[in-house]
Symmetry: C3
Subunit: 159 residues, 3 copies
């Protein structure tokens, strides 16, 4: 029995295009039978937010972060050419034209392929995000769990 | 016979300074006898565009992308301090002063050192870029080819 | 005797939040007994600048860079939501509220844990930074030294 290859991705970025790249690599690796983990930290956590507003108790600053940050993958901006939101519209237009998967679809596919989606508990605390606000089927862990996966990893990326 | 070390870099960014870092690492690794691949995806594809305009048939959105994105390595902006284009001028000025290689020179050196330069076909489709618009000597591939290289890689980076 | 695991991080970014992520991973890896190197290049060098002004001889461009770039970790901006400096204040406010370590504290901890902090001499030259302006206990090296560490690395990241 040969050992399974392992891919780990830290998704730090909250940009739509960078998150797409992360999920395309993750889905590709899962299709090639890698064990895959995406560890979402800082702005990358926004990809895991539910689209609907979730009522939770928050302090003032946490409420402001919650307002300012995009609620869910579909709302994220792109890293370049974000001309007043024109960039994401163009990207989504060409994606639809080429039948490319959207970010929410890529996330769903990753979950179907058993990609381990982890939310960084330390940065959830900092940004005031609570488990009720994130998608179902997510794991919660810290840097130690990431390192345990990554030190056995063949492909480790920070995105 | 010992196995060659292998370095793979995903160049996602379209920033001049980040592309410089990618190519400096790639050239360094090639000099240390690594097999090196740079996989250009999303905005990183712009580093491979020819400087001259190439006549190809494109739809409206693809034409807009082509206009908005920098044509070739020399035209790319920098990630920080891009004060109305003042940043790149300063960087290029100090580079000339220190006889540092420019990005186009670094790309040429990489090709001479047999660094494998790959353009991501999926994002070429999305951005409407065609093979005629990119430098000679480029390979065309998708995420599967990247993963095949990276899973044997010793140094894998996402830039 | 088993070989020690090794983590290498290239810190290219000059963003407070990205540098925090780099140092949190580095400190975590050191706590798990990895040999850890952070190789600071381009804007990441700013994390190593002393807070006080250091008198050194510089040309005009080098002086401008020195003025425009943040002097030390505490002065760095964040990568997202940097609304007129409001973002860093919010981040620092919630960090204080959660007793999270600040970036200068994380750097100090890394030095106590013998994380090897390296400044890239090539980009120091480009940006006109001199050894007197950087923290004590830093090593000075180039891409060759980075590659020598990274090719033996288990977790290699570009941040």
């Amino acid at each position: 029995m040969t050992e399974k290859k392992r891919t780990t991705i830290i998704l730090f970025s909250g940009d739509y295009d960078k998150a797409m790249a992360a999920y395309i690599i993750a889905n590709g690796a899962a299709a090639y039978d890698h064990e895959v983990t995406i560890f979402h930290t800082f702005w990358g956590l926004n990809a895991l937010r539910k689209e609907e507003e979730v009522k939770v108790n928050k302090g003032f600053i946490e409420k402001m972060f919650a307002k300012m940050m995009p609620r869910g993958a579909d709302k994220m901006g792109i890293s370049k050419m974000n001309f007043a939101g024109f960039g994401p519209k163009m990207i989504k237009h060409v994606m639809a034209k080429h039948n490319a998967m959207t970010l929410p679809q890529l996330i769903e596919m990753a979950q179907e392929q058993d990609v381990k989606l982890v939310a960084c508990t330390m940065t959830m605390d900092l940004l005031g995000l609570q488990q009720e606000e994130l998608l179902e089927g997510i794991e919660y862990a810290g840097v130690a769990a990431y390192l345990a996966d990554a030190e056995e990893g063949h492909v480790n990326l920070f995105i």
